[in-house]
C-alpha cells in the first residue's frame, strides 16, 4: 500500500518521464530536418566548403604539389603580390574582359530577336525543332567543337580561308573580298591580333542557342491579351516588340545576363584548345584568367600562386556581378509586372 507521499513521488516521476519524452520528441523534431538534408550537407562540406577554405589557405603558401602536403611554406601575401605585378596576369585579365564583352553582347543581341521570331512566327513542333537545333552547339562537347574550329581556322587547308578565296571570285560581291588573295594564308590562330576574335566567334556560336532557349521561354510568358491591347491602341509590329514584349521579359534578360557574365569570365576550354594549350597563344593573346591559373598550377606546379589567382578571379566575378545587380537588379528582380 503506497502512502500519499509515495503517490506524489510517483506522479512526479511520471511527469518527469513525460517531460523528458516531450523534450526528446521536440528535439527529434528539430533534428529530423538536419537528418534529411545530411547527405547534401556532407557532400557540400566535403566537396564545396572544404576545397573553398583550403584554396584560401593555400593562397598564402608556396606549394609544389609534387613535394607532398608536408612541404607547404607560409609566404603571407607574396602570391598575391607576385600575381598582381605579373604582366601575364594583367594580359589574362585584359583578354578575359575583352572576350567577355565581345562575346557577351552579341549572344543576347542575336538571341533576343531570334527567340521573338521563333515564338511569334512558328507554332508547336516546328518551333521546338528550330529551338532544339540552335541548342545543339551548347550541349556539344566544348573540346570537340574547339577541335573542329581549329581545323576550320587552319591557315593552309582550313575551310574558312577556302571560302573567303571562293567568295573573292564571285562576280558582284567579289569586290568586297578583293583583299583576300593578297592576305592568304590568313593565320587565324597564330597571329596575335586575330586570336581573340577567332575565339570570340566560337564562343558566340556556342552559347547563343542557350540564350535563345531562355528568351523563348520568356516570350512565351507574355500574355496574348497584351499584344491584342497594344494592337487596339495602334501599335505596329516593331512597337509591340519594343514596348510590350521586351519590357515583359526583363527578368529573363537579367537572369541570362548574370549567367553570361559568370560563364564568360570563367572561359577556359575554347581558348585552351584553340591555342593548343601553348602558353596562351602568340603573345598570350588567348590567355584567359582560368587558362593562366591552369598554367601556373598544373604546368609550373605552383599551386599556391594558382590558388591566389583563382581567388582573384573570384573577386573579379563577384565585382562584375555586383555591378550588374546594382545597375540592373532593381528592374530585373522586381518581378515581371
Amino acid at each position: 500500500m503506497s502512502t500519499a507521499l509515495d503517490q506524489l513521488n510517483n506522479a512526479e516521476d511520471v511527469a518527469i518521464v513525460r517531460t523528458s519524452n516531450r523534450k526528446w520528441r521536440a528535439r527529434k523534431k528539430q533534428f529530423m530536418p538536419w537528418l534529411f538534408i545530411s547527405p547534401y550537407l556532407a557532400l557540400f562540406l566535403l566537396f564545396t566548403l572544404f576545397p573553398l577554405l583550403f584554396t584560401v589557405y593555400l593562397s598564402f603558401h608556396a606549394w609544389n604539389p609534387v613535394a607532398g602536403l608536408a612541404n607547404m611554406e607560409f609566404v603571407g601575401f607574396n602570391n598575391y603580390a607576385q600575381e598582381l605585378t605579373s604582366p601575364w596576369f594583367w594580359k589574362a585579365v585584359y583578354n578575359t574582359v575583352w572576350l567577355a564583352v565581345t562575346t557577351g553582347i552579341p549572344q543576347h543581341v542575336i538571341a533576343i530577336p531570334i527567340a521573338y521570331l521563333l515564338v511569334t512566327a512558328f507554332k508547336g513542333t516546328l518551333r521546338h525543332f528550330y529551338t532544339a537545333t540552335m541548342f545543339v552547339p551548347f550541349i556539344t562537347s566544348t573540346v570537340a567543337v574547339s577541335l573542329i574550329f581549329y581545323s576550320i581556322y587552319s591557315g593552309n587547308t582550313g575551310i574558312l580561308n577556302q571560302w573567303l578565296l571562293a567568295l573573292s571570285g564571285v562576280p558582284v560581291i567579289g569586290a568586297l573580298f578583293a583583299w583576300v588573295p593578297d592576305a592568304m594564308p590568313i593565320r587565324w590562330l597564330s597571329k596575335s591580333d586575330l586570336i581573340k576574335p577567332s575565339i570570340a566567334f566560337v564562343v558566340i556560336w556556342k552559347y547563343t542557342g542557350f540564350n535563345i532557349v531562355i528568351y523563348s521561354a520568356g516570350f512565351l510568358t507574355v500574355s496574348k491579351d497584351l499584344y491584342d491591347a497594344a494592337k487596339v491602341d495602334g501599335c505596329n509590329a516593331w512597337q509591340q516588340f519594343w514596348h510590350v514584349a521586351l519590357p515583359m521579359i526583363r527578368p529573363f534578360i537579367f537572369f541570362a545576363l548574370t549567367l553570361t557574365i559568370i560563364g564568360n569570365l570563367q572561359l577556359f576550354e575554347e581558348p585552351f584548345v584553340l591555342t593548343s594549350g601553348d602558353s596562351g597563344g602568340v603573345a598570350q593573346s588567348g590567355l584567359t584568367i582560368s587558362y593562366y591559373l591552369y598554367l601556373i598550377g598544373w604546368e609550373w606546379l605552383e599551386m599556391g600562386a594558382a590558388a591566389a589567382v583563382s581567388l582573384l578571379l573570384f573577386i573579379i566575378i563577384a565585382a562584375a556581378t555586383s555591378l550588374h545587380f546594382y545597375f540592373n537588379g532593381k528592374k530585373g528582380l522586381e518581378g515581371n509586372r
Binding site: V66, L69, Q82, P87, R187, K191, D278, S279, W298
Partner: protein, 411 residues
C-alpha cells in the same frame, strides 16, 4: 541484419585491404600497356610471387594524376612512368625513392646505360631517382623523292644551317616547305647546343642563360627560315601536319626515333619507301622525349617494384622487346649489337636506321634538368619564340622580356 553487417564489413575490408605481398601496380600511359601485355606473362613465369597490374591514362592525365598522388601521399602505383619533360620538377621534390640507396644500389647499373639519359634521372643531390626506360635520339627525317627532285645528296643539306636553308630555297620554287614549323629549328638548337655543365635555361649557380648567344642564334636562324617563307607554319600533332607527311609538301622534320613508328603506323603509312633519316643539321646531337621509371615513397611493395624496374630497363630481353613491341628505343647500350639493329627498315627504303639512332644516342650531351625548366620552356620556347616568329618582335627584346618573367618566378 547480421548478414548485411558482415557484407558491409567484408566490402570495407576489401577496399582497405593492404595489397598482397608481391603485388605491384605500374602507372603509365599508352603504349606501355601493349608492351606490358607481352612482357608480364614471361616475367610472371619467373617470379610467381609477383602479380603485376597496370593503370594507363593518356600522357597528360597520367602526369596530373601522379601530381595529385604525390601531393596527397596516396594512390600512386608502385612503379610510375615519368616523361623527360616532367622529370626535373618531379625528382627534386622528394616524392620518389632514392634509388642510389643501399637497398636498391642503382649506381651499379650506370655503366650499361646511355650516359645522357642516365644523368637526366639524377636529382640535384647527385642521387638517382629515375631509371631511363626508353630514349628518343634526335634525327632528321627527310623525303627522298623531294630531295631527288631538286638533286644533290642529303649530306649537302645537313652540312650546316646555311646549307639547310639553301635547300629550303630550292624547295620553295617547287612549292614544298622545308619544314612544318621553323620554331622546331630554334628549339632544336637551344636544346642541343648547351655548354658542358650548364642547364637548358640556367647555369650551375641558377643564373639565367636566356639572353645568351645560344638563344639569340637559335632564334635568328628560325626567323630567317620564317621570313624567307620556307616553313609551313604548321603546328605539330594537327591534321595539317599529318597531311604534309602524306602528300610530301613538307620535306624534313626534326624529331626523335619514335616518330618513325607513328609515321609508318598511322600518320603516313602509304609513303613507305619515300623516307630517309639523317643526322641533325650542323653536326648537332640531341634527343626528343624519353621516359623514366621511378618508385614513389608511398609505394607498398618497393622491393618487387625495383626488381621489375631492373627487368624492364637493364635486361636486353625487355629492352629489345620494347623496340619490337612499341618502337621504344632502348637505353641499354648492350642491345645495340642485337640483330634487330642491322635490320633494313622498309619504310626508310631499306636504310639500317637503328644503327644511326644508336650512334646518335651515345653522342647526346648530358644536360641535367633544373628547377624552373618547365616555366622557362613555356615562357621562352613557346612564348617568346612565337612572338618573334609570328609577330615580328625583336629577338633581344623578346628574350629580355621572357627572362624578366622567368626571374620573377624562379628564385
Amino acid at each position: 541484419m547480421k548478414k548485411i553487417l558482415l557484407a558491409a564489413a567484408a566490402s570495407v575490408a576489401l577496399l582497405t585491404a593492404p595489397a598482397m605481398a608481391g603485388d605491384i601496380r605500374f602507372d603509365g600511359f599508352p603504349d606501355f600497356n601493349s608492351h606490358l601485355d607481352k612482357l608480364i606473362p614471361s616475367y610472371a613465369a619467373k617470379h610467381p610471387d609477383t602479380k603485376i597490374t597496370y593503370q594507363m591514362n593518356d600522357h597528360g592525365d597520367h602526369h596530373k594524376k601522379l601530381t595529385t598522388n604525390l601531393a596527397t601521399g596516396s594512390g600512386a602505383g608502385d612503379v610510375v612512368v615519368v616523361d623527360v619533360s616532367f622529370i626535373g620538377s618531379f625528382i627534386n621534390a622528394g616524392g620518389f625513392e632514392n634509388l642510389s640507396g643501399s637497398e636498391y644500389g642503382a649506381d651499379a647499373l650506370e655503366a650499361g646505360f646511355v650516359g645522357y639519359a642516365w644523368n637526366q634521372g639524377k636529382g640535384s643531390d647527385g642521387n638517382q631517382y629515375g631509371i631511363p626506360i626508353d630514349i628518343g635520339p634526335g634525327v632528321m627525317y627527310y623525303r627522298r623523292d623531294v630531295l631527288e627532285s631538286v638533286g644533290g645528296g642529303i649530306d649537302g643539306v645537313i652540312t650546316d644551317w646555311d646549307s639547310y636553308i639553301e635547300y629550303g630555297k630550292k624547295l620553295k620554287e617547287k612549292k614544298v616547305f622545308l619544314i612544318a614549323d621553323a620554331a622546331d629549328v630554334a628549339k632544336t638548337i637551344v636544346l642541343t647546343t648547351v655548354k658542358n655543365g650548364d642547364g637548358y635555361y640556367f647555369d650551375k649557380d641558377g643564373n639565367s642563360l636566356i639572353t645568351s648567344e645560344r638563344f639569340v642564334k637559335a632564334f635568328e636562324i628560325a626567323k630567317r627560315i620564317r621570313d624567307e617563307g620556307l616553313d609551313g607554319q604548321i603546328g605539330a600533332w594537327t591534321n595539317e601536319w599529318y597531311d604534309g607527311f602524306k602528300k610530301g609538301t613538307v620535306a624534313t622534320q626534326l624529331s626523335g626515333a619514335w616518330l618513325l613508328g607513328h609515321l609508318q603506323n598511322w600518320m603516313a603509312p602509304d609513303t613507305k619507301g619515300k623516307w630517309g633519316v639523317s643526322n641533325l643539321p650542323n653536326g648537332i646531337f640531341g634527343s626528343w622525349g624519353g621516359s623514366f621509371l621511378a618508385i614513389p615513397k608511398q609505394a607498398k611493395n618497393k622491393k618487387e617494384a625495383w626488381e621489375f624496374i631492373k627487368y624492364l630497363t637493364s635486361t636486353e630481353e625487355a629492352q629489345v622487346a620494347g623496340l619490337k613491341n612499341i618502337g621504344a628505343f632502348p637505353v641499354l647500350k648492350a642491345t645495340y649489337t642485337d640483330a634487330a639493329f642491322d635490320e633494313p627498315l622498309e619504310f626508310l627504303a631499306g636504310q639500317k636506321a637503328r644503327q644511326l639512332f644508336a650512334q646518335v644516342a651515345q653522342k647526346v650531351p648530358a644536360v641535367a634538368p633544373r628547377k624552373g625548366d618547365l616555366i622557362a620552356e613555356d615562357v621562352v620556347l613557346n612564348g617568346a619564340l612565337a612572338e618573334v616568329l609570328n609577330d615580328g618582335k625583336d629577338i633581344m627584346a623578346a628574350l629580355k622580356d621572357a627572362e624578366a618573367l622567368v626571374k620573377r618566378r624562379v628564385k
